[in-house]
């Protein structure tokens, strides 16, 4: 990892600065890349139409070998790997666009593919030595090896830094002895290798400290055992197991990234991995919308097809504008990632949060449009709903990611989730970790920053964005002054700040996308209504969150929860009272 990522659109936004030049114009792919992408998409579509049977995959909880083999032959497993190592060497944007299309056909395949490519292989791409890359990447690119990413443990889920798996150097100093267990590992049963995170003793500043280190572990080594595939709600085609390590020897050459820097390896891998997940949500939503539209046009009630009713129009319109917004934030972020030099960790987290919630709402509303049919397992709607649910949980729960967005935004550039995690586990010691925010300066409302030269079609949306961005900055400063370092524990407030940032980023991405089209003389006939609906809904969400910062019922929330937890149940027996 050598790139200097200093600038961040969102982190600046928290300080009241609109770095328009980062996100305008909306990133574009060159013609050759677009043409290649189009052909890769078509190859997958032609294959998937013939060989991917989503109903069977869900029923059998297994991806058939013919699908795996087809994906190998097409070369899809090599998408995140550069051509130097026999991969396809495509950009993050192309990768995510293909991921979107894979998820459109079957979410279990997408999860298998994401665990392999987005996070399993990505760690080696980002942090591998030349030797590690030469040894593993060609096999991962061809699909001979399937990869997994093993971070989560029974006692370390969201609190990833709290893992207990240990790796101890043997006497000859040739290998680490790995002991511990991992759970919920996608591809756990089928992977050849995994990036495994374990505690190691590292000598720092004159003393031995326990730090996390990442390892490339051959899962066919003696001492590795794999649990039974989990019986899951959705994404049933994907294989999820536990992994147990009992005195597994891992050669010292297999340390991934610097010793003791495993947490950084994990977070960086997940930062970009999340973009694939968010792109997958777009594919899911597009398929759901297609299904919903077909049903709404053909189903008649009161002598009219459903699509003629305003309550159905409302659902279809909101789903479509959510797709538009998710596309805008995801491909803005992948574009920025491809260009390089920009920190997109917050933006990636927002893509994951927004995409996963949008696909869940979409699955829910589409099932509602289908009515009774939606609830029947004879139709695909319930499967879509089951498949969509996981995205809010894995690769960082949306709750953790909201705290990450708010706290990183507040802290300013350069800080990472690890500090927040440490601070959360040890609030008193953690105070010192969030340095710098006391000196946080935001511009006052008089010198409010503006989006400049935005096309007239979205003038009022851009003005709303300016005002609300200033409000985010003002609130950030205000809560810092009010709560000081205790802000770390003020999750009610942090969630509202995160929600403001999420919606503002959505607005900015959508405005950039439409504005860029206008400046390229492209038609915005389809874009404009979607953009306007999204921006205005997002703006009202931001205003609502801002209002609740001061006037809320947080005390009651906390009080009620305490009351319920103390009673272990709902404490009132209504009809029995005299």
């Amino acid at each position: 990892m050598k790139n200097e990522k200093t600038e961040s659109f969102l982190k600046s936004l928290f300080a009241g600065e609109i770095k328009q030049e980062i996100i305008f114009p909306f990133p574009q792919q060159d013609a050759e890349e677009q043409e290649n992408l189009q052909m890769i998409l078509q190859a997958w579509q032609e294959f998937a139409r013939d060989h991917v049977d989503a109903v069977e995959i869900d029923k059998n909880a297994e991806i058939p070998e013919v699908v795996m083999q087809g994906m190998r032959e097409i070369g899809l497993f090599g998408l995140p790997v550069s051509d130097e190592y026999d991969g396809a060497g495509v950009s993050k944007t192309s990768y995510c666009r293909v991921f979107e299309e894979i998820c459109r056909y079957e979410a279990g395949i997408a999860v298998m593919f994401g665990a392999h490519a987005s996070i399993g292989t990505n760690g080696i791409v980002l942090f591998g030595t030349e030797k590690q890359k030469a040894e593993y990447l060609p096999k991962l690119a061809s699909g001979e090896y399937i990869a997994a990413f093993a971070l989560t443990e029974p006692n370390a889920g969201s609190d990833a830094a709290g893992i207990q798996t240990k790796a101890v150097l043997n006497e000859k100093k040739t290998a680490f002895i790995l002991n511990g267990s991992k759970i919920w590992i996608s591809n756990g049963g089928i992977a050849s290798i995994a990036t495994v995170f374990a505690k190691t003793v590292v000598h720092r500043e004159g003393e031995d400290k326990e730090k996390i280190t990442a390892f490339i572990v051959d899962l066919n080594s003696p001492g590795v055992s794999r649990g039974k595939p989990e019986h899951k709600l959705g994404i049933r085609g994907s294989n999820t197991t536990s992994l147990n390590f009992d005195n597994v020897l891992v050669p010292v050459e297999n340390v991934l990234g610097p010793m003791g820097k495993g947490f950084l390896v994990a977070m960086e891998t997940l930062n970009t991995g999340r973009l694939g997940l968010a792109a997958g949500c777009i594919g899911g939503m597009k398929e759901l919308l297609r299904e919903a539209t077909e049903h709404a046009k053909s189903r008649e009630q009161f002598n009219k097809s459903l699509d003629q009713f305003e309550l159905i129009k409302d659902k279809i319109a909101r789903i479509a504008s959510d797709i538009y917004a998710t596309e805008s934030i995801v491909y803005l972020t992948t574009g920025l990632h491809d260009k390089g030099g920009v920190d997109v960790s917050l933006e990636s987290a927002i893509c994951k949060i927004f995409g996963s919630e949008a696909v869940w709402n979409t699955a829910d509303e589409v099932l509602q449009i289908a009515g009774g049919l939606g609830y029947s397992a004879e139709y695909p709607y319930e499967r879509y709903l089951r498949d969509a649910r996981i995205h809010r949980i894995f690769e960082g729960t949306n709750e953790i990611l909201r705290m990450f967005v708010a706290l990183s935004g507040i802290q300013g550039p350069g800080e990472y989730l690890k500090n927040v995690g440490k601070a959360l586990r040890n609030p008193i010691k953690g105070f010192g970790l969030l340095t710098g925010f006391a000196a946080h300066k935001v511009k006052d409302s008089i010198s409010m920053d503006h989006l400049k030269d935005v096309c007239p079609d979205l003038k009022s949306e851009a003005e709303q964005f300016d005002k609300l961005a200033a409000r985010l900055a003002a609130i950030t400063e205000k809560v810092l002054m009010k709560y000081g370092k205790k802000i770390i524990l003020k999750q009610f407030i942090l969630q509202r700040i995160a929600n403001m940032a999420i919606n503002l980023f959505g607005m900015a991405a959508v405005i950039s996308r439409v504005d860029t089209r206008v400046k390229q003389d492209k038609s915005i006939e389809h874009d404009l209504p979607l953009a306007k609906l999204f921006c205005n809904m997002a703006a009202s969400r931001v205003r609502r969150e801002a209002r609740y910062i001061n006037r809320n019922h947080d005390k009651q929330r906390a009080q009620i929860s305490t009351m319920i937890c103390e009673n272990n149940k709902y404490p009132i027996e209504m009809l029995l009272e005299k």
Binding site: I40, A43, I74
Partner: protein, 257 residues
């Protein structure tokens, strides 16, 4: 062994088609195009034969600039090179004119084998390949389901009607139209996609081939959207009469029996 596959580009299957102003063809401006489905099977067979006989597969496609996309697709799926016969008017040409142009364009290539799909998804004549063979003086066989290259000849199995097959040998060079659906269609690979750009595509101007365009044997005057009509007949009488009436209708009107 030099193998040609005649490959046509047609509107995608779920395209929303509108008629053009003169009502003799579709409005092509907003339509997406793809490789004609049947031709995929011809391509698959060509690639198989080439693989087993150290052959080279040449894609031969006629049409305006847009067909280059389909040519690239075919090259990404494994074909070795292509000939693009540039012809703006291809969509309204009749099969004989098409065949004359194609034959003129490829006659000097001396292909050992010319393959085509069964028929095109847009006009569905199923004649172009056979006509090319006639013009070039080659033997031809249609609806081929199996091939085997022998010394200087090819043995093929043809599907006839009613579950009958015909085994026949043709001397090479020969032309075959391949039955659809018997194999997987070939998929492009990412490596193939990256390599496709480097494969040679020869450009031939249809106008420069000296083919006399005499209006053709066939002219498309008018096309129209089928008129939707719904007619319900209620049969009355006892069961035997109703069955008799039903069978009569199915046999003589609906012609499904």
């Amino acid at each position: 062994m030099k193998i040609a596959i005649l490959l046509k580009q047609v509107p995608v299957k779920d395209a929303m088609l509108e008629l053009n102003d003169s009502g003799n063809w579709i409005e092509e401006d907003d339509v997406q195009f793809e490789i004609n489905d049947s031709d995929h099977y011809g391509l698959a067979e060509a690639l198989n034969i080439a693989k087993e006989n150290e052959g080279e597969v040449t894609v031969v496609t006629m049409g305006p600039d847009r067909v280059k996309d389909s040519i690239k697709q075919a090259l990404a799926k494994g074909a070795h090179r292509a000939i693009h016969i540039d012809d703006e008017e291809v969509s309204s040409s009749d099969p004989l004119t098409c065949a004359k142009i194609i034959a003129a364009a490829i006659k000097d290539e001396n292909f050992d084998l010319i393959l085509s799909g069964l028929q095109s998804d847009d006009l569905g004549f199923g004649q172009t390949g056979v006509l090319v063979a006639e013009i070039l003086g080659m033997p031809h066989a249609t609806l081929v389901v199996e091939t085997e290259i022998l010394d200087g000849k090819i043995k093929v199995k043809r599907e006839l009607e009613g579950g009958w097959f015909q085994n026949v040998e043709l001397p090479l060079p020969a032309m075959l139209s391949i039955q659809s659906g018997l194999t997987d269609i070939p998929y492009a690979t990412i490596k193939g996609i990256m390599m496709a750009k480097k494969k040679p595509v020869a450009e031939v101007e249809a106008d420069d081939l000296g083919v006399e365009l005499d209006g053709g044997a066939f002219k498309l005057e008018k096309i129209y959207t089928p008129v939707k009509s719904k007619e319900t007949t209620v049969f009355e009488g006892d069961a035997d009469t109703i069955v008799a009436q039903l069978i009569d209708k199915l046999k003589n009107e609906a012609k499904v029996l």
